[in-house]
Subunit: 398 residues, 2 copies
């Protein structure tokens, strides 16, 4: 071998890891903004609200008090206790702090879960459409992502039938997001119970992504921690401070894991992360205080108003959204009526209407061309302005 | 399959992932402290100093200004520019911001580097003794860690001869830490140049861990970014805000990568982390300001005084430390003169002397029984007190 081998090629696996296509959209939007064009952002999966004041204050106080050192690898016991109390209060369920681990965002929790769980070649069932990184997490851990093709007609629901049809002797886990990104679908207690039973019967792990929990509109906000009737030995519940609690930039999440995974996950946390960010952990404790929750509940109501406005306006413009999404802050819209591809429509709306949205390819290869995602992470006034600008841009497609 | 398959067993790889044994020591120390025993902590790889005031202030200001949202996946351009300026000023080297990525600690950088670089079965050469997580990072990415057995007699130096002897047609990378944890060994420009040339000649990547850079005592603080004479296409330089900059709890690091890895690493950052913590990034900018550096340089001088005191005292007590360690904040000491194993000695010093140190097993299986690591992350007064307590505890071994 000689120096001519440079530049080194990246690992083969890198060809399988897809970027977020929404990032390209954001880069193009930023370019237009630099040219002086105002852009309405409906592509970003991040609440427009700054972190609530009591949380920020707790973070500042922590820094002022010199809390700048490492914590335990799985996080501070005080924060675990606050989460356990929250489960008790919101879900009438006792979750021992030993089974709660604080993570570097829900991303850290997802990553560690797949590492701890998957042997090479193990299959993981994932709803399609779904959060794009999940497939990559599975691949990085040596697993094989298997899509469960959900349909608009059935409200994008993952059913026992879909799961059963996809089961093989290599199936190791099912990952279920409720509320779902990008569809906003929220699972009921009955649905989750049936699926948990199915997973237990087949000895596969059930990983429930509750990253958008708390952001539900008019339906019960069920958590899988409430499922005490099935063996909990194979259940992982993953949550985040980013969405309902509005702490995206703090990089803080948590998970509830089976007892047999407490130690393996702790070892991974020590090795991969050392510890979650310290000031964020102190701030996170304040997220559960009544005065914070009252702010967050106002924001939830604002999201609901936005959903109502945007859903009705988009339907009026010819976007097909069959079932009303009950959670998260996204609308996943069928655009086949417009006669252009998803990528093309996103480009037109950005360039002609100054509205940035996300093409379907980020969430489903199957539906890539036929769907787009709108995030209602911008206020009512902006949403109205967006609608007013989208309408003529769509007309030009005729 | 039935429910009897519960509890699910963790993935097979988890048996290979070792915990930090120092954590056990910390847990035992905490137990003694709860019983009212004062413990002197010399086991922790974390400066005792709180984060310097100007950095904390910048973090607080960022929070007050609402900087609580996601940043770009590879970090803020302003922080990249500050790092590039720092390289220019300290190392007279131009590093383009495009090749700098901000990461979730150096841990995030190490993780992403191995993901992006290793195909299954690729071998990575690692100095033994060395930082224990590195082997686990390599394993998680499907690679095989290969130890380079360095010796106290040669100042724990990694030499071209050691590397050449370990090369196979599966060798993909060499990871070199300077200053090294636990030995404190600092590589010279000449040594690093020779090794970089060797790596380039053999077409293998050179990953330089400079996590302790800035913490050198009386020797030049060379950085591998200065190596412009060899092809840089295969070189990764990893650094951290944790040690010299004293920002452990903020979880912030960075890397300089080859041009061909900018995009693959960005994809990994998007998927694995979304973004590094935001307030930490704003705080990190203040780390390079003259008033901060003047504080950090005072701390560096304090570390040097501690090293001098501890080194001479430990040698006086019968610990063998051949070469004087020139960097980091550790002393790796041969304890074979005491006639007990490393684990046993650590237990005795904790229980009899109230001094917590780290057993050798965290850094080397080969030397596990014969070495311990002292961290001088505690002040002179505490170090003197520790020495006074260790002396009689050692006597009791006779």
């Amino acid at each position: 071998m000689t120096a001519k081998e440079y530049p080194l090629a990246p690992a083969i696996r890198m060809a399988e890891i897809e970027p977020f296509h929404v990032m390209e959209m954001m880069a193009q939007a930023a370019q237009l903004e630099q040219q002086g064009r105002p852009i309405i952002h409906m592509e970003v999966g991040e609440p427009d609200f700054d972190t609530a004041e009591p949380i920020v204050k707790a973070g500042i106080t922590a820094l002022q008090n010199g809390h700048t050192h490492y914590t335990q690898a799985t996080g501070r016991i005080e924060l675990k206790q606050a989460i356990s109390d929250w489960y008790q209060q919101q879900h009438q369920t006792t979750v021992p702090t030993e089974r709660i681990q604080i993570t570097v965002g829900a991303s850290g929790a997802l990553q560690m879960t797949f590492w701890a769980l998957l042997d090479p070649g193990d299959e993981v069932l994932l709803a399609d459409p779904g959060y794009p990184c999940n497939q990559n997490f599975v691949r990085l851990a040596g697993g094989i992502p298997v899509s469960l093709p959900t349909e608009a007609e059935s409200g994008w629901r993952v059913t026992p039938e879909l799961i059963t049809a996809a089961l093989t002797n290599k199936t190791r886990a099912l990952l279920l997001a409720s509320p779902n990104n990008p569809t906003g679908t929220v699972m009921s207690r009955a649905e989750m119970t049936a699926i948990a039973t199915l997973c237990a019967d087949h000895g596969i792990a059930l990983i429930v992504d509750e990253i958008y929990s708390g952001l539900t509109y008019g339906v019960p906000d069920f958590s899988a921690v409430e499922l005490t009737e099935n063996p909990s030995a194979g259940r992982f519940v993953i949550n985040s401070f980013s969405k309902y609690f509005g702490m995206t930039g703090w990089r803080l999440g948590w998970m509830v894991c089976p007892e047999s995974f407490v130690r393996p996950l702790e070892k991974l946390a020590q090795n991969l992360f050392i510890a979650p960010p310290t000031a964020a952990q102190f701030a996170g404790e304040a997220a559960f205080k009544p005065q914070t929750i009252s702010i967050l509940e106002q924001r939830r109501e604002a999201f609901q108003e936005r959903r109502d406005l945007l859903l009705s306006a988009l339907r009026g413009l010819g976007f097909h959204i069959l079932a009303t999404p009950d959670g998260a802050f996204y609308l996943f819209a069928d655009i086949t009526g417009f006669g252009v591809s998803s990528g093309e429509l996103c480009k037109r709306l950005l360039n002609q209407a100054g509205v940035a949205i996300t093409p379907g390819i980020d969430f489903s290869h199957r539906l890539a061309n036929d769907y787009v995602r709108f995030a209602y992470t911008t206020d009512l006034e902006q949403i109205e302005r967006a609608i007013a600008k989208i309408a003529p841009a769509l007309k030009s497609l005729d």
